[in-house]
Amino acid sequence: MSGPSRDKQAGLLLDEPLIFERNRPGQMGVDVAEVEADGLLPAELERAELEGMPEVSEPEVVRHFLRLSQWNLSAATTFYPLGSCTMKYNPIANEAAARMPGFAGLHPMTPDGLAQGALELMAELQDMLAEISGMDAVSLQPAAGAQGELAGMKMIRAYHEDRGDPRRRVLIPASAHGTNPASAALCGYEVAQLDGNAQGVVEPDAVRRAMSSEVAALMITNPNTLGIFEREIAQVAEIVHQQGGLVYLDGANLNALMGVAKPGHIGADVLHFNLHKTFSTPHGGGGPGAGPVGVRQVLADYLPNPRIVRRDDAWAWSSDAPKSIGRVRSFFGNFGMFVRAYAFIKALGGDGLTRATQMAVLNANYVRARLQDTYHLAVPGLCMHECVLTDRNLEGTGIKTLDVAKRLLDYGFYAPTIYFPLVVSGALMIEPTESESLETLDEFIAAMEAIAVEAAEDPDAIHAAPVRTPVGRLDEAKAARKPVLRWRADDSAGG
């Protein structure tokens, strides 16, 4: 492979080689004094030279990594409609709050007496999450959504075993969040899949048929991953409860219910929250997750230890709950995320949270209504916070979902989630969130419409996409089949 061409190093479209390829012997950043290693290490561990370490000046190192960082797309650089992942904007005010020295510098081993403010913030956040979800008690401890799920399923298991009625099966609809079967299996349960009806919604009759005294729980995502509200949730929950089962609600899509409907009031016994989705804390590589878990009274004894309690007029940690499933994490969640979520909830207030939910649903339905004739809509009718389109209307052009996603990058948008949910062929899953303005949505819609026109008139242009990115279309199959995971000195020597 040849080095970067001059034209791509000009202007703002900056190509950037690997740092190893910037190696120019003799260049260096900081002048470091030589250290005599004699005797510090066993002789066999000493080496005279670090093979392949690049020699680069300090300004070049800074430019290298800054340029790489500028290649990132994020909710802070562009519209980022990644369905199911909910990439809503992270307000700057949250960051300011989380970086206050009293919060940012707090050590997790700080004695309770010196951490009263932090404990109070966590206790209040737990109460606010309980209020929003209609649950009776909340623990902030799980580190992220998947761990919240695991904690929830462990509580369900502890509950059944405690009653001398261990059960072995968990029912999961095909349209549930993808991590659910893994969490159930990790808890030792056998997973039975429930197929939805033609609209992808779980029907009471299907639950009735699958339900038995062997079923520990139903895990349901509501709205489901098709972005459709499970209308029969109350009746479905009743059927499960009648046979002694519990209902786990995956809170991944709570941002479509927040301030409007409370899962605890429509049959859920336990749910997890994704603070990094619904409550605007950073996401993915931007920050650790946070997956608090909430329960109805029936499961409250089993919540993780330690818990935050009020003792002698002060906040304190307590591990006095004997039926608790114990710790699920060495320290109590990811504290910085609690500060951000707390700031978000307090800034919006109850009415503001309701309005955020309404805007998220309105935005998704606006995109759906504008694009449903150009692209095929997976499930007809209203959606909640996300809509699922497919590439069916492009049939015959040779353009598929993957091509549309690549071309969107050229139009300056991050691509939506593609090929998920698995129950939809060629899915394009679009979640605008409440953060976006009408103007942004119109620009995105115009790009999607332009791509549909290109598909019909000039499909080759789309096959070549993306062309306005530092790196063009990658060979994804080759990358997966024959991955090159590290740079080796020999590779560049040989070209």
Partner: protein, 129 residues
């Protein structure tokens, strides 16, 4: 898209070639097309017993991971050892070099549940809607 007449097909998109009491199994051109470029294949080991409609292997593409279901029950006599390192064979030649396993058929009556080429093409047309 081809669906050879001498094969039988399952609702999970596997094909079966019956030769005496041995069935050769792979995934159909429709399945391979829906998956896209296959990048990983996991197969059972010779000697394993597979049961009709149970997962016996895994195919992963750049888009998704799917189970491969046994279209019939029996004992695995041979697997396509070339496949794991040359997964593109599933896409390039699904009915030939992309075959997956050979199974000694334990219950020939199970073959009656499978579709012939014409039935399968109708099934696919409906699934693709």
């Amino acid at each position: 898209m081809e669906f050879p007449d001498d094969l039988k097909y399952s609702r999970e998109h596997e094909w079966v070639l019956v030769e005496g009491d041995i069935a050769t199994i792979g995934i159909s051109a429709f399945a391979e097309d829906q998956l896209g470029d296959v990048v990983f294949v996991e197969l059972p080991a010779p000697g394993d017993t597979v049961s009709k409609d149970d997962a016996m292997g895994v195919v992963e593409s750049v888009k998704a991971v799917s189970d491969v279901y046994a279209p019939i029950s029996g004992k695995v006599t041979e697997v396509n050892d070339d496949l794991p390192d040359n997964t593109e064979l599933v896409n390039d030649d699904p009915y030939g070099d992309g075959w997956m396993v050979k199974v000694e058929i334990s219950d020939p009556a199970e073959l009656d549940d499978l579709m012939d080429s014409e039935e399968y093409q109708r099934f696919v047309a409906e699934a693709d809607g």
